[in-house]
Amino acid sequence: METLSDTRRTAAFYDVDGTLIRTNVVHAYAYYAINSPAMGDKIGKTAGLLASLPLYWIADKFDRRVFNEAFYKNYAGFTEDRLVLIGEEIFEKVIKPNIFKGAFSLVDRSKRQGHDQILVTGALDVITKPLADFLGCKDFVANRLEIKEGKATGRLLKPMIAGANKALWVRRYAEEHGYDLDRSFAYADSGSDIPLLSVVGNPCAINPDFKMRTTARAYDWPVLNLD
């Protein structure tokens, strides 16, 4: 007898930074800062970024949301169309060369299994969209910058996609779109994404940090090392 769960769709939810690509949002922003057309601007932004790195690192370890709030201030004053262009450029020059080789076959296998591919990331939507298109993902959710009068304020729109919010988003998304979470998959690398992996029936830690690795071992989640 065919049950309800057999007819519902399944998905594979992916964190992006450190999971599918070996870079992260700081790296991406650094690319912009270093390649800024105005030399003065370039020096100022690069130096500012370098000086802030330890702070970002601490903020990220403390709470991913704190990190995001601190980090996205760097985008204040960017126009909307410029953000899209930067996103495409960052994808081509920074993200694409850093996609893990194993990520392609993982996504490919998953697609052939009939799972919808969905990215769930704390990165910006303008950077995530080209990646989602490139990997053939059905959908994605990413952080969005608040835009006022055509320019970014440096604040993120709520709800911020990070930590437990990713799990909350996945639950709601599954409810709205009719996904069977028990038969769905999720992939992440960081301890901050443990809630994301916890909401699906087939969690998998990829290149896990210490916290994620110990949790994965405790719960017998598969651990994958992509390169």
Binding site: G102, R109, S110, Q113, F185, C204, D220, V223, L224, N225
Partner: protein
């Protein structure tokens, strides 16, 4: 060391004065004084090894079995050659270095070079086994070959790399034959085998070894397993027959040259060789050595014991090497295997006892998890017979193992899900296969861990479960002695006993006081030639 043809009698009947018998119990030993009249079947003495291995290998290459030319006569400059090699699942435990594969490869590679053959690749025939690590491969082929060829021209095959696997066709039974592309596209495919049980080698080497799930599923399934009357007896093994059909097709399409090596059963070095001998033949010094070993092991943490055991290689000797056509070669190898391992035994028993050791073909350098304990008992040890199983239909198996609920998450990730998700629902092989096999086989996580980590293929725990199907259908019950928890034996469908005495009482309650009792003293492996 002597030939098995001497007066040594491997089948003993215990008396009141007999010493206690020791049994493997995972990483420990148990001892028990079995009642007078108990039959104990020991391994034959190791056959005398060939002193000059190099000469024997060269002779085999130059004097092939079957209607094929010697290896040198098949070589010409510019040709493409692939050498497939058995993986770490054989022999058990791994042999002292140099491994016999290294010896064969050194000679074959030199011969290829002498004849101007430069396009040579070596592939470890993993099928759905885990990838060998670099250091394991280095140990197997020796540092010189490793440094020259690894990883570009010496590598693990990847059965899930669809670009590098090809279908050759279908057998008349509808079995689709899949093989590594490089092997299929070579002018010559050489297979280097290590043989120490009759189940391995022959058509199975390439038919299974160089194949993947798309092909292996045709014979690794409950139906075929149930039709196999001992995996160790190729003539009566449906599993082997399927491999034979596939192998014949491969041989029609490819130029295949088999090299098979038969090893003796010298699993222990001279200091520990007494462990293979009947306890009643032990000297006082042997007994003292055993007791101090047993005491020390008891004191060590399990992980330390495991590491210790995995670091002790076996002292196997080469007793035969044959090269040429698949069937003709394998026939010669089987002769040696039977000569070494077969022990004539009169009649079956109601109750049979096996001690389960720390290692199986699938946990080299890893953990013997509950599924592997089961496959060791009901898949391997049960099938170590020719003619009739050593245990009567409906009889009782008593095994000794702690049955710890431990799995290696890197080597056996899908086993964990199988054990915790599927087994609580059913133990029926057909149901398990129907409901979950495909899902596990195609799970992208398990495929990636298989391809890029050191995990067994996602489907492997199913094969382990099917593999024990024969034994499971034949015996009436399994009693495990010394399980450290209740849930592992319960999930396997086994009864538990705290001590061997309790297990023997349980067996006696079922079979009556006059039941026959046999202890099979593995390892070294014994194949019971039951009459």
């Amino acid at each position: 060391m002597s030939d098995s043809t001497t007066s040594y009698n491997p089948v003993r009947y215990l008396t009141e004065d007999s010493r206690p018998i020791y049994l493997h119990y995972g990483e420990d030993f148990l001892t028990h004084k079995f009642p007078a009249g108990t039959r104990v079947v020991y391994a034959n003495k190791p056959m005398k090894p060939i002193d000059n291995q190099g000469a024997a290998i060269r002779y085999a290459l130059n004097h092939p079995e079957g209607d094929v030319k010697p290896l040198y006569a098949q070589l010409k400059p510019g040709m493409k050659v692939t050498i497939a090699i058995d993986d770490i699942s054989v022999p058990l435990p791994p042999m002292k270095t140099p491994d016999i594969r290294q010896k064969v490869l050194e000679i074959v590679l030199q011969m290829l070079a002498d004849h101007g053959v430069e396009d040579v690749e070596m592939v470890v025939a993993l099928a759905l086994h885990r990838r060998m690590t670099g250091s394991e491969i280095k140990r197997m082929v020796g540092p010189e070959i490793f440094n020259e060829y690894y990883p570009e021209r010496l590598y693990n095959m990847d059965a899930e790399d669809e670009d590098n696997m090809v279908f050759l066709g279908e057998t008349d039974h509808g079995e689709k034959v899949q093989i590594v592309r490089r092997a299929a596209e070579s002018d010559l495919l050489i297979y280097v085998n290590v043989n120490y049980v009759p189940m391995n080698g022959g058509f199975k080497s390439i038919g299974t070894g160089l194949s993947g799930y798309q092909s292996i599923q045709y014979h690794h399934n409950p139906q075929t397993i149930l039709k196999s009357d001992s995996y160790m007896d190729p003539k009566n093994s449906a599993l082997y027959n399927s491999n034979e059909r596939m192998g014949r097709m491969i041989n029609e399409k490819l130029n295949v040259f088999h090299i098979e090596t038969a090893l003796n059963n010298k699993m222990y070095d001279d200091q520990l060789q007494f462990l293979a001998d009947p306890e009643d033949d032990w000297s006082a010094a042997d007994e003292l050595k055993f007791k101090s070993m047993q005491w020390t092991l008891k004191k060590l943490p399990r992980a330390a014991k495991r590491n210790f055991f995995h670091k002790v290689p076996a002292d196997y000797g080469l007793v035969g090497v044959f090269a040429g056509a698949t069937e003709a070669v394998h026939e010669k190898t089987l002769e040696k295997c039977w000569q070494q391992h077969a022990v004539p035994v009169e009649g079956q028993s109601d109750v049979v006892v096996w001690g389960i050791p720390f290692e199986s073909p699938y946990n080299v350098n890893s953990i013997m998890n509950p599924l592997l304990v089961r496959v060791m008992a009901l898949g391997y040890f049960f099938n170590m017979y020719r003619g009739k199983p050593i245990v009567k239909k409906g009889g009782t198996l008593i095994i000794t193992h702690p049955c710890y609920d431990q799995f290696d998450p890197d080597h056996h990730p899908s086993y964990i899900e199988f054990f915790n998700r599927c087994l609580p629902e059913t133990r029926c092989s057909k149901t398990l296969g129907k409901r979950w096999e495909k899902e596990f086989a195609e799970n992208p996580n398990y495929i990636e861990m298989f391809r890029r980590g050191n995990a067994y293929h996602g489907v492997h725990p199913f094969y382990m479960w099917y593999w024990a199907e024969n034994g499971q259908h034949h015996v009436g019950r399994v009693i495990v002695v010394g399980a450290e928890n209740d849930h592992v034996p319960a999930r396997m469908g086994w009864l538990s006993a705290k001590t061997m005495d309790e297990a023997l009482e349980m067996a006696a309650e079922h079979h009556g006081p006059d039941h026959d009792l046999t202890v099979m003293h593995h390892p070294p492996f014994v194949i019971a030639d039951v009459r």
